[in-house]
Symmetry: C2
Subunit: 446 residues, 2 copies
């Protein structure tokens, strides 16, 4: 009998996880991320990419499904594949979703929209939903860690958007869990998800909309993989380590096979993900944190600063070097200089801190021009295990946010997204904190 | 003003092609391939992968669309994205669809199902349909040629299923043409298609169902790209040659940029594609042709043959080396030895020539064991421009099939697929030959 592969072990674990196996703090953090993601989806629902994808859902999908679709213009229910397509796109617009360092992934923006839509379709309860999301995080992030840094970028070139390529597999596993698939069927779902893995960084060059396409399609494709596995479609068994699989075709450098199955059931990837507080690109956060900390400690004011040199890792230089001066509000969040200017002037860099007016603020633009970015080889070697920035300060991504802070962030995002009914937001928050006792997931999106 | 890119030139050409610009012989060959593909779809409609994908369409899609879905069990109309998902899978099951040498692609199995479903949705007429299919072939195959041989395989390892990765872009262009998108919107559609490009060969290792997933999803994803481009979703402009685009991320060796736009409007890729006559893997065909020709010329019979050495290119050795003895009818079509045994004994290797009984035929199995396959470096260097095999005989893939031969192949495939109503097949054939005069494309699938 052939030896069990790492991917088989991961699929078996995913199929067999029960709610009672999950530590309390992992349940709590899953609920935190879920609420955080709802806020992100509401905040992003007016984006043109989201609207175009919602139009596609209207034209190509049914209008009588049970899954709720969030969008700036439409309010309707459809099948889970289409609801998650749109919600997965919406939740990745405002760049406020979580970050899982080791995998260089934003798992929340794919796992929650997909699991929510499927749970609504299947009438799953809160415990089942939480368990499926923990499975989705675990499988998706472990795949991302397996694919590693060179999958994300190599030799100064971005390659794959790992949130999508690892994410589609996490979605498949979460969906398979809600569908109560066997370990064998779950393995098929993982295989079919992996052979669809896609998502390139070319959109960074001209600020086009693929980022939302990648997360929305990761949801759709992962759901396709799991539902069709249930109905008899066979996926390749060893889609990670096989001789013609993802590790060979999508990873130009080293893979990390041990990440697939080491400490399964003891470590939980949910615990390793972190909230995103600043509204700018995640690669600016270590520098923002360092700057704000320094300014506070030394009582330095915005006008006192002559110039700043940030020292960072290669991936940050690559991504942030592309957006130039930042001509739009969106692009400005990818300019290290502009982001530090905002943070220094306003004391934080939240979503409402980046405005059209700021783009024409001479003092911010002057400050921006005095910021230079340098590659630091020590910091680069530590990436992606640690996301460090500037001269001395270590990444604070692991810091603990209180429930109160998450609630405040959610309310800010909901306001930004034009959600005026605050009693509705109150209800969503209350239900999220009580998630494990919820009978079903209906009514979470609108 | 920045210089126009090759991809922009291709998109502009695709948006502006008119029926009157297409040479008569290209129109005729497009009609030939269309009929050929319908036969393939009927023949493949009972496959479990097709049935599972049809179930997904039923559960996730609408039941009141205008596009016809072919399947062994269901007869219903749905939205074009779902109809093409299923029909694109069905037409790639029996390995009888066309081959475009230079791109190592099977364009028909993605272009026709997608364009047909969209044409049915939009009430396009025959001329519009033919024009869109010519656009789809041109764009898809040129992308495949750009990506080149190393995208398909490198250093003894298969990488990407180029029918899917080039195909999704061809589908986007064909759909964009039917939607009458501008050149700029077509470029967006191409960009969004390219960032979704996926499809790995791992399924060859365990005979699972990804091959059909790849073609079906290429249809779905390409349609998504074009419809969402119409509704305002922006795709990256230079998804082929850009610094973070397909050429960088998906091609480990050399790309062929000139293939993107050289001789646009003068050469037509439709003319370069060839019919598949034998029912076995395309990589066996040069050897089958050579063997049958030799046997005829020298009056050699099955029992006269002591042993055979086939000399071929690396990609053939890789693909054919995997299936071992060929335990199933499907796998047996990937065994060089078994395929040559069938051809030698029966005088051809058509779809009805491979049966369960043959798997247990001792004389065929003995013959199989006497066939050895060798890598020929001259033949390998010529690949994929020319697909040569055995000792002396050049690939006959460019040979001309008569209308009569295509009709016979279509009837054989329809019979294999359980299509008992021969008057319906007659009607499909008649309409295909009259395609440019058809008012709409309704009724082609059932």
């Amino acid at each position: 009998m052939p030896q069990e592969t790492r991917t088989e072990r991961l699929a078996t674990w995913a199929a067999n996880l029960r709610y009672g196996d999950i530590p309390d703090e992992v349940v709590q953090k899953t609920k935190d991320f879920f609420l955080d993601t709802l806020g992100c989806a509401i905040a992003g629902r007016h984006h043109p990419a989201v609207n175009a994808m919602a139009q596609f859902a209207v034209q190509m999908g049914p209008s009588n499904g049970k899954s709720e679709l969030i969008d700036g213009a439409l309010k309707f229910t459809t099948s889970p594949a289409f609801a998650s397509l749109v919600n997965g796109a919406a939740s990745h617009v405002v760049e406020q979703d979580d970050l899982h360092n080791r995998s260089i992934m934003h798992p929340a923006t794919v796992i929650f929209p997909a699991a929510l839509a499927v749970a609504q379709d299947l009438d799953s309860n809160g415990e089942e939903f939480i368990t499926a999301c923990v499975v989705g995080y675990e499988v998706g992030c472990r795949v991302g860690e397996f694919l590693g840094k060179s999958h994300y970028e190599l030799t100064l070139k971005q390659r794959f958007h790992s949130t999508a390529t690892g994410g589609v597999i996490g979605v498949a596993a979460a969906t398979a869990h809600l569908l109560k698939l066997s370990a064998e069927q779950t393995l098929s779902a993982i295989g079919t998800a992996g052979t669809q893995a896609a998502g390139l960084w070319q959109f960074l060059m001209d600020a086009t909309h693929s980022k939302q396409v990648h997360t929305g399609k990761a949801c759709f494709d992962g759901i396709f993989a799991a539902y069709s596995a249930r109905d008899g479609l066979l996926g390749p068994a060893d889609i990670l380590e096989g001789p013609k699989a993802m590790g060979v075709a999508l990873v130009p450098g080293d893979t990390h096979p041990e990440a697939i199955d080491e400490n399964l059931g003891r470590d939980f990837e949910v615990s390793r993900s972190s909230f995103k507080w600043h509204a700018s690109c995640r690669h600016t956060h270590p520098s923002v944190d360092a700057l704000l900390s320094l300014m506070k400690k030394k009582s330095v004011m915005f006008d006192d600063i002559e110039s700043i040199t940030t020292r960072t890792y290669q991936a940050a230089v690559n991504v942030l070097g592309l957006s130039g001066r930042g001509e739009t509000v969106h692009q400005s969040k990818f300019s290290m200089g502009f982001v530090l200017a905002i943070a220094a002037k306003k004391g934080h860099a939240m979503i409402t801190d980046f405005t059209e007016d700021d783009l024409n603020d001479g003092s911010l633009r002057d400050f921006q021009n005095r910021v230079t970015m340098e590659l630091d080889s020590d910091i680069d070697r530590a990436f992606p295990e640690k996301w460090k920035g500037t001269v001395i300060v270590t990444c604070k991504s692991g810091q603990k946010f209180s429930e109160e802070e998450i609630e405040r962030k959610t309310r800010t995002l909901a306001t930004y997204g034009g959600f005026t009914d605050t009693s509705k937001v109150d209800l969503i928050i209350k239900r999220a904190w009580n998630l494990e006792h919820e009978k079903n997931l209906q009514g979470f999106v609108f």
